[in-house]
């Protein structure tokens, strides 16, 4: 079908106009964030639109590290991130492997339970869990945030692994078993190395959920400033001392939370879609 060149041109102008206006609207809050993070204190309270900071206050960035225990927040956040990654890599892949590859009795029932828990909203578990952790004296510690993650308590990750592992041809699994490789060996030597895309995708999820978590740190660590995460620190800067005079520092802090996410997504983006949707990619 040959399109009239004028119609084609008009169509292209229309497409680019919509995309450009839309993209601009989406990006403006971020540009404003960068700009505000680089403004001096007296510039942020000017009631006029000024997108280019003048002078450029680079010193806001090092200043925030002095004014707030940023490194401590970052360390606390990383503890949760590491626990989350461990859970995503070891217990979740083992469970995904068992659901995909090992025919144990009752497997379908267990898998049904797994799917059901994906539909279970957090709100119906929130209060008993808090009371439970309070009972064993774990509030104001990392325990409630770390233990579920170390156990790989995430049905969604297990489900993704299972889907991916099912796509790996039977012969690979069978021949390794015949050669005397244990299930553990097959999982570690064959399936794990073949599963880079889905591992990368799940790692991105695990990182970003741990990095972004707010409700759990709020409930368990809110009253223990020593253990505050970046999310809690940012909320406190905005909430309690959030007079309009510290708008620039709030935006510096926001940038500090955004940049690592951008880096993770930049390096992981090509796996994100393929790891999640390519359940049969290895079948070829």
């Amino acid at each position: 079908m040959i399109e009239d060149p004028r119609t084609k041109l008009l169509r292209h102008i229309f497409i680019y106009a919509i995309l450009s206006v839309g993209a601009l609207v989406m990006v403006v809050p971020l540009l404003w964030t960068v700009s505000t993070s680089l403004k001096t204190r007296d510039k942020i309270t000017i009631r006029r639109l000024e997108l280019i900071p003048d002078p450029v206050a680079w010193e806001n960035y090092p200043y925030l590290f002095e004014a707030r225990p940023i490194m401590q927040y970052a360390r606390n956040t990383m503890i949760i991130v590491v626990a989350s990654l461990f859970g995503a890599w070891v217990p979740c892949t083992l469970a995904g492997y068992a659901f995909a590859r090992i025919p144990f009795p009752g497997r379908n029932v267990f898998f049904g339970i797994l799917l059901a828990t994906m539909m279970l909203p957090y709100v119906v578990r929130l209060i008993p869990l808090f009371l439970f952790f309070d009972e064993i004296g774990w509030t104001r510690t990392f325990g409630p945030l770390i233990l579920p993650r170390l156990l790989g308590h995430n049905a969604f990750y297990i489900f993704l692994y299972r889907q991916f592992f099912r796509g790996i041809p039977d012969d690979i699994h069978d021949s390794a078993r015949i050669d005397g490789c244990s299930e553990f060996g097959v999982w570690w030597r064959i399936f794990m190395p073949m599963s880079r895309p889905v591992l990368a995708a799940v790692s991105i999820f695990a990182f970003s959920f741990a990095w972004n978590d707010f409700l759990n740190p709020l409930i368990y660590l809110g009253s223990n400033k020593e253990l505050w995460t970046l999310a809690l620190g940012l909320n406190a800067l905005q909430g309690f001392e959030g007079d309009d005079n510290s708008l620039n520092l709030i935006m510096v802090f926001s940038m500090l939370m955004i940049i690592p996410m951008l880096v993770v997504f930049y390096f992981g983006q090509k796996h994100l879609i393929s790891g999640v949707t390519a359940q049969g990619s290895l079948k070829g």
Binding site: I15, V123, I127, L131, Q238
Partner: protein, 308 residues
């Protein structure tokens, strides 16, 4: 001998299966099953701060108080439904529309895709804090821009009428995540379907209505369901943006905020548990209804009869 070996091997194999799922299963018991059951039990008790020993059983009293006396129950439910009613469909429409355009594979598409997607990578806490500044009455970008073009500034976060629209704006800013899912779905539609339609003289609009939309219904269904489940539990945006009281006239008091206040500010755990059970039942019934009715409009490739 051979049989016994096989038998042993099979049992061993099964055993290994249980070992492999054990961490997950232990987590399921501790963090899903027991809390879920205990929460149900709590909702029939008057468990408060200072309650020692077994919490007193009060039957349906919490529930009757919620339905008959708790003005904030209906208020927060209304606010949540209002938020959902706008944010879920609008996000779906934007995400689908932009994904359609990006799927035309014009030059520079990857740059645009990134620009639309980047806001949904921003951590929710940061996005919320950014919006708090962005919508600031005096020093925020939006009002300064409105003044610049000669419009009247709005008290986005402090006037009861503007709070919910502000929350909806914030949720729309993150439509990129759904857009990416739509885009992946669109790219999975076989090209020959479109070619066949073109040969038969199908217009662009016909191709959209008779090929693209039907083939995308599973993705639309997924995004709709996830949007609704997430929307009912909207919490931290509101908590950070307008605080636990829900702002002036409590126009921003969403359901989860009410649960949070009852549990962690008033320490009325039994009452809060009852509130959470009600939210669970709503989400549960809605999910069942959606899944049940999905047979009528969600098109799965292997079930040809459902096409119309």
């Amino acid at each position: 001998m051979k049989l016994r070996l096989q038998e042993w091997w099979f049992r061993n194999r099964s055993l290994i299966g249980f070992v492999f799922i054990f961490p997950w299963f232990a987590g399921f018991i501790i963090f899903d099953a027991m809390p879920f059951i205990y929460n149900l039990y709590l909702s029939f008790t008057d468990y408060q701060i200072g309650t020692v020993g077994v919490p007193p059983w009060i039957g349906l009293e919490n529930y009757s108080e919620i339905f008959n006396e708790d003005k904030l129950f209906s208020k927060s439910m209304y606010n949540t439904l209002y938020y959902l009613g706008y944010s879920v469909p609008l996000r779906l429409i934007f995400a689908f529309f932009i994904a359609l355009i990006l799927n035309l594979r014009v030059r520079g598409m990857e740059l645009y895709r990134t620009l639309f997607y980047v806001p949904s990578v921003v951590p929710l806490v940061a996005a919320t804090v950014i919006f708090a500044g962005f919508l600031n009455t005096r020093y925020g970008f939006l009002n300064q821009f409105l003044v610049l073009i000669g419009a009247a500034p709005v008290r986005w976060l402090s006037s009861p009428d503007a709070i919910k629209p502000s929350l909806i704006l914030l949720s729309l800013w993150g439509f990129g995540a759904q857009m990416i899912i739509f885009l992946a779905g669109l790219q999975g539609i076989p090209e020959d379907l479109y070619e066949a339609a073109a040969i038969d003289g199908g217009t662009g609009w016909q191709r959209l209505v008779y090929i693209t939309v039907p083939l995308m219904t599973p993705t639309i269904f997924f995004n709709l369901l996830m949007g609704l489940i997430g929307g009912f539990q909207v919490f931290e945006q509101v908590f950070i943006l307008i605080g636990t009281h829900g702002g002036p006239l409590q126009a921003g008091l969403v359901y989860m905020l009410h649960v949070y206040n009852k549990a962690f500010r008033d320490f009325e755990f039994g009452y809060a548990a009852a509130l959470s059970v009600i939210l669970f039942l709503i989400i549960f019934v809605l999910t069942i209804l959606l899944v049940y009715t999905s047979n009528r409009w969600v098109f799965y490739g292997d079930a040809q009869d459902n096409e119309t």
